[in-house]
Amino acid sequence: MSADIQNTNVLIVDDSMIVRKAIRKAVVSTGVPDHSIREAANGQEAIEALDEQGVDVVFLDINMPVMNGEEFMEELAKQGRANDQYIVIVSTEVNAQRLLRIATLGARARLQKPFEPERLSALIQEAAKERAA
């Protein structure tokens, strides 16, 4: 197991507790320590989590109450810190125009729900390597 993975801090942003736990399970299986994973139920909570602690990888849903994933990306971009984390969209969203806009704001990868845990694992390894480089 690489040190990069063990030193990776992850934030999972989804209004569904089920999805947060499913992503957490997949992330832990890659070697990220459970205590390095935080959860937020919407974009507003995610902003607060980022303010409190450094995060390397964010798994971000789009369709959420309070502040959705697109609004979260807009807020990060406005603050000039959208590229401070490796952001992976995990959503049912399929609209090409909206996904392109979110990618332009700084999202690096996308997993469509229902996602395959193996794909999530590959992404977090890629993100950890990139962050360590």
Partner: protein
């Protein structure tokens, strides 16, 4: 006849069955909705563009929801807080299935999007639906109905 895109119930059912298999290795078969095992927990999500155009409803037996939740979260049924998890699971199914439906009706090009899933006390009558999917998963029932907004 409605001007909205039509949803092929058989294709929607096949895609939902495939999603269940991929997510948590649950095998299901299409059945007539009249022969569907009882469902216990229900949710609904709107789908539309600037305005809601459809309601997609999901009803499932608690046994199936429990199996899905355990599969997704990697826990044993004995560890499950059913009061919290089963409603959350049926809501997430509504979210996922609405994404499948949107993809089927050209959502890559047209900005259809789902609302936030909510719990409902019962499934809507299938007689009013434009598409009905009924799946039997080893004796557990899953009912998905699609209704156009008036």
């Amino acid at each position: 006849m409605s001007s909205l895109p039509q949803v092929d119930a058989a294709e929607l059912g096949a895609r939902i069955a495939q999603a269940l298999e991929h997510m948590c290795f649950i095998i299901s078969d299409p059945v007539d909705s009249a022969e569907l095992p009882d469902t216990d927990t229900h949710s609904k999500v709107s789908v539309g563009d600037e305005h809601p155009l459809w309601d997609l409803s999901v009803s499932a037996s608690n046994g199936l929801l429990s199996e899905i939740a355990c599969g997704l979260m990697g826990i044993e049924p004995s560890e499950l807080n059913e009061d919290e998890v089963l409603p959350a699971t049926v809501q997430e199914l509504a979210n996922i299935f609405s994404g499948i439906m949107i993809e089927m009706i050209g959502g890559e090009e047209h900005p259809y999007h789902p609302g936030i899933p909510e719990l409902t006390p019962a499934a809507p009558p299938t007689s009013d639906a434009v598409a009905v999917v009924a799946l039997d998963a080893m004796g557990d029932g899953l009912l998905v109905t699609l209704n156009e907004r008036a």
